[in-house]
């Protein structure tokens, strides 16, 4: 058995009897209190009035959202990999076939229903990571609120509204194949 000999600091008598240490501790806390009272130090941000949005890092993981490409085509082809990978099972997808009259009929498949239950979502970003079509991204929206459970389920319209257009990604379907 390895024995570790811990070197304890040698305490003077007044330290042992909490006399100087007590005073020291009280002075430290008093110092903090005075610094705050004099307004020298400011740590807390007053949230709804002050926001940190401008400083959010690029890799910030907010609400997941669907994006369209520069031609307005919905990038999601409803492969359901995000539904599969989603740890809290927040995503529900029902696929459908794109009708032959649609200009993007060659893509064949799109989501008929795409719901993300934001009460379940844990903002892990796995959906973004797994998406083979670069269709789902975690945006910087973080204040997701609602007055009912139903309101907290983001449907396709809401998801595209949050997501908007993403340009400059891999454009697999714009080529012939």
């Amino acid at each position: 058995m390895a024995t570790v000999v811990v070197q304890r600091p040698k305490l003077k008598w007044h330290e042992k009897w909490f006399i100087s240490t007590l005073a020291k501790g009280l002075l430290i806390t008093l110092g903090h209190a005075i610094a705050i009272l004099r307004g020298k130090k400011k740590v807390t941000m007053q949230y709804p009035e002050e926001k940190w949005d401008a400083n959010l890092p690029d890799h910030y993981r907010g609400a997941p959202a669907l994006v369209t490409d520069e031609h307005g085509r919905e990038r999601c082809v409803s492969c359901q990999l995000c539904e599969f990978i989603c740890p809290p099972r927040a995503i529900t997808i029902i696929p459908e076939e794109i009708p032959s009259t649609d200009p993007w009929a060659k893509v064949e498949k799109r989501p008929r229903l795409f719901n993300i239950d934001m009460i379940r979502c844990i903002y892990c970003g796995m959906c973004e990571e797994v998406c083979p079509e670069q269709a789902i991204f975690l945006r910087k929206d973080y204040a997701i609120t609602g007055l009912s459970r139903a309101e907290m389920v983001h449907d396709k319209t809401k998801l595209y509204e949050i997501g908007g257009v993403r340009e400059g990604l891999v454009n697999k379907w714009n080529e012939l194949k």
Binding site: V77, E96, E108, P132, E133, K177
Partner: protein, 562 residues
Amino acid sequence: MDLVNVQVNGVWHKFPKGTRMIEACRQVGALVPHYCYHPKLTSPGNCRMCLVEMGMPPRPTPGQEPEKDEFGMAKIGWMPRPVIACANTVAEGQGIRTEGKLSEECRKGVMELLLINHPLDCPICDQAGECRLQEFSVEHGNGESHFREEKVKKPKNVDIGPRIRLDDERCIMCSRCIRFTAEIADDPVLGFTERGSYTTLAVHPGKRLENNYSLNTVDICPVGALTSNDFRFQMRVWFLKETKSLCTKCGRGCNIEISSRQNEVYRQTPRENNDVNSTWMCDQGRLDFHFVNSDYRLTQPLVKKSNGHHPTTWKLAVNQVAEALRSVKASEIAVIASGRMTNEELYLTHALVKSAGIENYDVVPRTGGGDDYLRADDQNPNSNGVRAIWGTEPGAKLPQIIAGINSGAIKVVLALGENLIKAGLEKAALEKLTFLASSHILANATAELSHVVLPAASYAEKRGSMINVTGRLQRLSKAVNSPGEARDDWEILRDIILAYAGSNGIHSVEDVFKRMAGDVEIFSGLTLARIGELGVQVMETGEKVPLLERERERKAKGIIVG
């Protein structure tokens, strides 16, 4: 049987003479990847995926003793080029290497060539998740392509039949579908056109792939070239839960797997059983599951009042049925059951009619629609169960019962799973009855006339056993939950018996089978568990399965592995 010594991956084994190399390797656990090879079809050897290294002992010069290895077998001289494992048979002293540089390089090369023109649309393709190309690409593929040119464009989304869609770009030209239509379905409508990279699968001009077995081509297609219109884009296969069960469309009792997710059935696929359906099934049976998910399912027990049907509780509904059975003489009661009921349900029905002394009971027979392949002429999946358990011929008493109802001699009718209007009864005759109780899966005309409607479970929602037309006892398994308050028929019957005659000590479907095994000769010694996934033969009916007969013939000739 002649056995030969064959070395597979350095270990010597014995195989019957004539065994294909690919089967020999599979038997000892060395799986050889393949696309075109299918044991029930001929082996053209055109995908080249199953290339393995092969060798034979060199023929010794006269007087020279052959060199021996450490096992005392003649040393193998390995061939410098690979051979396909699917079409070659094993021979004495042969050596096979499925692992090793040559085989692995071959597979890598074949994979890369197959992927040259294959589109990378796995996120859309329905086959993703059960695609051989995907699997082998991960196991044996290169990870990247050297191909820098344009991919060949081929027709996509081609309508080649009423139930099937073809995507030619995904096709890897294994020709399984062509061979199936030609050899099994006797409807050779598929073939290749063009050459080389441009080879295209197509239907012959003016023909369509519309025979009753067409969807089997979707099953055997190793990629997503052939997809089922019914299942297309419905659900990714990795979400599906597979339950081993039976098809109840006809008396054949084809073994199937029911694929479901969250109490919804998405598809049915055949399951191999070489005594019933080989690895095939008909399209009719395969697509006959949509009623399980139907909006017209009955979900609550109903009682009829002056202003229509109203939901009630099971207890009240069952008590009302028992009360009605007690209210009249046994000779004024008729029980019309169904040949679609399981043995357990038939047994409980029998117990009910016996305890009540009812003489008028029968099932509604259905015939017609048999073909020269798998479909049986008997459309009821369990007619043999009626014969075995009731000891009566289905339909023998039915005309007499119908006459009794029409004449008014029968006043109370219990219809179990049968729409009496379709069975030949008039609406007016049924309206005359003092009491009509019926159990149904879907709302129908008889339910509309019934005083008490009991919602029952479909075949995908219950456990039980059935005897098919060849006398084989097979098992149904529960794939999904019944909607709402709908119950298993055996539970409904048990409750009616309880309400009518008091306790019977039956708590589970196993108990019913146990009791039945004690009463019915052919079931003695069996339990529901002992039936197994493939069933047991309990009767001799003399009926043959044409498709299986032909398959055995071809197997005997060595054309297929079987």
